[in-house]
Amino acid sequence: MRQEETLRGAGKLNWIFDIDHKKDKSKKESYIFEGYNLYTSQLYPTSWMDMSEPKKVDRRKFIYAGFGAVALIAIGAAAYVAMNPPVVTQTVITSTTVPTTSVVTTTVPTTSLITTTVPTTSVITLTEPKPEKLIFQGHEVHRKAAVGANAPGQINLIAQFEEVTGIKVEWVTLANPENYDKLMRECSAAEATINLAHCLTTWWAPRMANLFEQLDPWLEKAPIEEFNDFMPAALQSATIGGKLYGIPVRCSGSSMMYHKGYFEERGATPPKVIEEFYDVAKQVTFTKPSGEKVYGFSSNANIGELYEVLTWFARSWDADLITPDYKVVCNQGPVVQALDILAKMYRDGITPPNLTQLQNQDHVNLVKEGRVSLLPGGVSYIITYNDPKTSKVAGQIELAYHPPAAEFKNKWEGAAPTFTYIWSMIIPKNAKYKSWSWELIRFLSSKKSNLILSMQGTDVARTSVYSNPQYLEFWQKQGFPKYPDVLQKVLKYGRPPIPGMDNFSQVAQIIGTKAEEAILGKKTAQQAMDEAAELLKPLMPKS
């Protein structure tokens, strides 16, 4: 049978396929498949297929089909597992009772300013298998204080825990906004990759009750020593619906710091009232002979954290952006005045030109490089800024009270009520090895551990620490005699910048975006804050 097929394409080549079938398989005839190119009038043999031989079965096709089937089954199984993750059950492998005497005992070398031992006890019967490591998420400040990285001679508390338990502690440290994002993602996953974390006051919201482990049962099983020693306000900040979800580990408060060398050079003194602030900041703004500009004022005023800077100024008038009972007051007098000061300083070159893009680490670097004269900051940052290993201005950064408005000059012992932060240690509900995480929390929450932490860059939530003679003597010897006094006033009069709520991040973004518009001169402070108030009101929790 002869068959002609002509295939035409859009191109110029045309082929005629001459197919000559031989159906008589007994004859050794071949099946010839030829192509005849009309364009070139040439005959091209294209392929030959020998039809006389019996057809051999191509086993490769069966093999490929088998692979395909296996792949299909594997994909189906993977999809099933993804939709129904296996529940990790804690099986009792061993029953280990930790000795009831000291778990961690260490004596600091007498050359160190911190001379204390850190005993702690554990009565918990740990039935959970011991992990190789615990992953602790937090801010770099927490890590440095816990491992004693802020200054020579400090105690590495984490190393002690690791030595006794044989469990390595790994840190994941991020800036605050990123810390919050990651914490939320971790706690919402099927299983968290972290074991415990730090949570900030402003992040506490009703949703946390569904995401964090409730700690009251753990306190009953294995209590923390002298739990009544913790500041009630600190415990309250980690309580939702009367249930405790976090153990306070850091009470940060913001005050004012200044470069005393620059102030002496320029004949300036730190402002005692907020009305002096702009003039003093301008006085200490200058350019060094090397060409480097020194800014009168700087802060980590990026969009996500600008609400803190605004609150810092507004607290000179004891004002809030949002009241503790969720009333939006950011467009009222004191806050607008505060924003005006910031905007004016930016306009007149007193602040860095990229002020609203400075992340916390950028701002810290600027200070350490000696590019800032006056700054707000957590009181414990004094250690960071004066660290001779990493700072070019070690010994120059000094603490001062945050200046109140003139009308309130004598109200709060000379210091305005700035904002406080309370960091609490939490365990995600979906984390593994909770009993071991609780052990670490108990260890870091002990009286001695807290005393050490308070002298290593983090201010703690135990009231007894602040009257401890060793604590007071430490700051004297460190060259920061004002430290306990300033911190005490901050903790006494301060409060969180904004109350905790589910929409915290969006609220911070709105305030930051609108404040930036005023700082960059696109709107007046009043216009910007009026718009912010309109956007914020629908986001407030309904009482």
Binding site: A10, G11, G68, S188, Q357, L366, E369
Partner: protein, 294 residues
């Protein structure tokens, strides 16, 4: 539907596992995303069906509408300059000149460096306090103080950095295409007295047109989804001047924890991606059919 011929079955069988994996990794999550876009979903609470209210929320948000405009502007500028630079570099590399291989490596280097590393390096270079570029331009009386503080200049800088990072991709595709142009065509054009521009317009460009379309398609789709350069440099600021759709999606989903709204934005981005890539795909399809392939 005709039965597959024997010679067609094997290739299809071999490709099936990959198609199934892609279905699981791309198609199913996209379906989930569409489903999520009709839910109010945030961390710590179960999802709740809210119909089209997420779409209404984003379509009535000025920032979202501005993000669409900025996104298209970014894509047009980015793809245009990447193409021009990429084509220029490809044409240059197709000539023989000394140390050509070193130049090839230098041109491809931005593409080879980790994106985050290169963007952070650029950020430090133009830092008003510590930047090396800041130092250099100061000799000409230029200040970088407000480069990232003005929405327009910040946007332009994001485009420039993204072009610098991505033009080697276009270069590689077009360079490969240019090297496949038969030299006898060029010779024939030379004999006929064609000028350089005529050779470029009537020989080079038609010969590499398919590759141009492929490069433009890829770059348009990727440029539409740019996130890293903007987030690291400006985080969508200043004043929302660099908040394109990907940044807006990130803010909604991971900052504000409004995953349903973020999913709705994702669906809109998907729609725009189809819209933009459809003409390119149609041109490619026509070209393939014109050559008689089936």
């Amino acid at each position: 539907m005709r039965l597959l011929k024997k010679e067609e079955r094997l290739p299809i069988l071999l490709v099936t596992p990959v198609v199934l994996i892609l279905t699981g990794v791309l198609f199913l999550p996209s379906l989930w995303s569409i489903f999520l876009s009709f839910q109010h979903y945030t961390f710590g609470y179960p999802p709740e069906f809210v119909g089209v209210s997420n779409y209404i929320e984003i379509l009535s948000d000025k920032m979202f509408l501005n993000a669409i405009f900025l996104n298209f502007a970014f894509v047009v500028l980015d793809v245009l300059f990447e193409f021009l630079l990429g084509l220029g570099a490809a044409l240059l590399l197709s000539r023989r000149f000394p140390f050509q291989k070193i130049w090839v490596a230098l041109i491809i280097a931005p593409f080879a460096v980790s994106p985050v590393v290169s963007i952070v390096a650029w950020k430090n270079l133009i830092s008003p306090q510590f930047g090396f570029i800041t130092y250099l331009v100061s000799f000409f009386g230029v200040s970088t103080d407000k480069w990232l503080m003005d929405p327009v200049t910040a946007f332009i800088i994001c485009v420039i950095i993204n072009v610098w990072r991505e033009f080697p991709f276009t270069t590689m595709i077009l360079y490969a295409a240019i090297t496949t142009i038969p030299p006898d065509r060029i010779e024939a054009a030379l004999i006929d007295g064609a000028s350089k521009f005529q050779r470029f317009r009537y020989i080079t460009m038609p010969s590499i047109w398919t590759s141009v379309v492929v490069a433009l398609t890829f770059r348009t789709i990727f440029a539409f989804r740019t996130f890293d350069v903007i987030w690291i440099l400006t985080q969508g600021g200043p004043l929302g001047g660099t908040t394109i759709l990907s940044v807006y999606l990130y803010l909604q989903s991971f900052k504000f924890l409004k995953l349903g709204v973020g999913a709705a934005v994702g669906v809109v981005v998907l729609f725009f991606t189809f819209l933009i890539s459809a003409p390119y795909l149609r041109i490619l399809y026509k070209q393939i059919m014109a050559r008689g392939y089936k």
